[in-house]
């Protein structure tokens, strides 16, 4: 049991971490409600809150820029998440259950890919994509996103699959199940939380990317939200688009927060299960 003193220290520590992590979010949230005249006022809270920033990105000048980039972000992130989850599930299943030469190599390669700095690949990729016509297209972003999401997905899922009691499949077969039924009824319910958690992590990685998004796109054909924010302009050239950017940032943060809140139990159990016995 914790003593009172320890409890106080824990509470203080938790508050410090929360403030550190959430203050920027709160600042952006507050800023998104400020009219343009107040942006430089230096106060934290807007004195006369307004929805004009949200109006401008959802219905006003910046609407086209923002909504098209939102569509790109959602589409590209979802597709690369689905693809990465399917591929990572198959790969991790093979690594966890089968014995084949080069198993270590696959794991090490995927680790090597994930520690390669993004910024060092982006210039060659820019040239390559321009040559083969992938520049400024959805596949042009989906492919590099998968290079970010696949390694971590493979590693998390392998760790997760390794501690699934696979003999349950055999138990189910003895109990009268076909091979498919055994997999469906005994294994899938246990594997699903891991796959689900991994998919969420992959989605956030793709959703949050900036470097690829800004370097490999040039128009609203494929530009995702984080990159599009840089292209916001104020209503006049003397006006900073800070308010609109803040509003857009809040809008793109919402899905992340909602997903995490909805699935926090699965995420925690998925992550810790993989972590404890990997």
């Amino acid at each position: 049991m914790l003593t009172t003193k320890q409890k106080v220290w824990w509470a203080l520590g938790t508050v410090a971490v929360l403030v550190y992590a959430l203050f920027p979010v709160a600042a952006i949230f507050a800023t998104s409600f400020k009219p343009s005249s107040e942006l430089t006022s230096g106060t934290f809270l807007p004195s006369s809150p307004t929805l004009s920033n949200y109006e401008s990105i959802l219905a006003g000048d910046a609407q086209e820029l923002f909504l098209s980039s939102l569509r790109n972000s959602i589409g590209i992130s979802v597709i690369s998440t689905v693809l990465a989850s399917i591929l990572a599930t198959l790969a991790a299943y093979a690594i966890a259950r089968l014995d084949f030469p080069g198993k270590k190599l696959v794991l090490m390669t995927s680790l090597a890919v994930s520690i390669f700095p993004v910024i060092s690949i982006v210039t060659p990729l820019f040239n390559l994509w321009r040559t083969i016509g992938l520049y400024d297209t959805w596949p042009g972003l989906i492919i590099p996103y998968m290079s970010l999401t696949l390694p971590i997905s493979i590693w998390t899922l392998t760790a997760f699959f390794r501690q699934i009691p696979w003999e349950l499949e055999q138990a189910a077969q003895v109990d009268g199940a076909t091979t498919y039924q055994a997999f469906r009824r005994a294994i899938v319910p246990l594997a699903a939380p891991g796959v689900f958690t991994t998919a969420l992590i992959a989605f956030f990685i793709a959703w949050n990317d900036f470097v690829y998004g800004i370097s490999l796109t040039s128009t609203s054909a494929a530009r995702p939200v984080p990159a599009a924010l840089a292209f916001f302009t104020g209503s006049s050239q003397f006006e900073e688009p800070t308010g609109a950017i803040s509003a857009a940032a809040v809008v793109v943060t919402i899905p992340v927060v909602v997903l995490v809140l909805l699935f926090q139990r699965q995420i925690v159990s998925g992550l810790t299960q993989g972590a404890v016995k990997g």
Partner: protein, 425 residues
Amino acid sequence: MSAITLKNIVKEYGDGYAAVNDVSLDIADGEFVILVGPSGCGKSTLLRMIVGLEDITSGELRIDDDLVNDKAPRDRDLAMVFQNYALYPHLTVFENIAFPLRLTKGALSDDEIDARVRRASTLLELDEHLDRKPANLSGGQRQRVAMGRAIVREARAFLFDEPLSNLDAKLRGQMRTEIARMQRTLGTTTVYVTHDQTEALTLGDRVAVLRRGVLQQVASPRSLYEQPVNLFVAGFIGSPPMNFLPGTVGESSISTPFGDLPLTDRLRSAVDGREIVIVGIRPDAFHDVDESDVPDEAVRFEAEIDVTEWLGSELYAYVPFTSHDDVAAKLEELDRDLDGEGMRTQLVVSLDAMSTLTDGDDATLWFDPASAHVFDPETGDNLTRDAERASKLDEHGAKARKRAIERAREKAERGEASVAVPSAG
């Protein structure tokens, strides 16, 4: 309920290692057969071949009269309890037990499934745990859930793979009796794998002893204990294990480190010209001269007791000796086969608990030479085995089993109604 027939079953794993080698075994309908042997001898492999989780390299496996070598597990209709229980962690106890029934796809109504699960859970005293998940149960409870899943199905036979090895000693004893009772009540053919010779002797109608994939002896527990076919079976069955002493054959006696056995007709024909033999004597064949009447034919010897262990119901005394070079190698090999630690050679003597002997005492002990077995040091064969007596013991065992099953069935018929009423209501 079914008979299971194994004919020249061989299992070679990918690396060419024959984990099970030419095993033939007839398991009668309703019989409780134990497969026993030290770990790694191929028991699980054999069981998994019977249930269909492992391919049979060669040989024939029949259930009743069907050849099932190539049938999938589900088509063999056998129920198995795994060593680590293999419960479905995402399902409640109820659903775990109901799992095999749900797979019968509409053959059973929900009411019927419910009734059957509750009958099994009552039998296994799991009623108050039906809504819990396996992770929240104790080891013994999990074990019973696994058994429940096996018995709801009314399968053709039960297969157990070391079901009690994850339980503590006290629970193991309880569950052992429970399994014996359940098998008698249901009268279902059962194959039970264990490395524990106590379980083998207490549970089995017949016990099959395996060593490195080869079947050594199949016999009733009594026959196995009294008339083992070779050194391995003699050393494996019985606790503490049989003492093996080097014996030098002389004109009129076999001399051992603990007295000379006179060459009676029985021993003379057993020895049959050999110069060195291994003499096997069970610990409980020894007695203290001061505490018992010594018969005329007894062999007496002086011993300096090294260590004693008092267990309440008996007293174990240990007397070290040096083994003969010619048999030392054979005994060391035996020890390795039996998962031993290559400990120094010592005589184990099981004496009356009232004995006052303590460490360091000098004692005069005796044993009846008629209780001694003589083994060939080369082949390990038991040279004194009385086949006639052995088959008499087996017959006796078979009769006892038949009676027990009949009694249990009568009882079940009488009791059936009282079990069925609450589950139907």
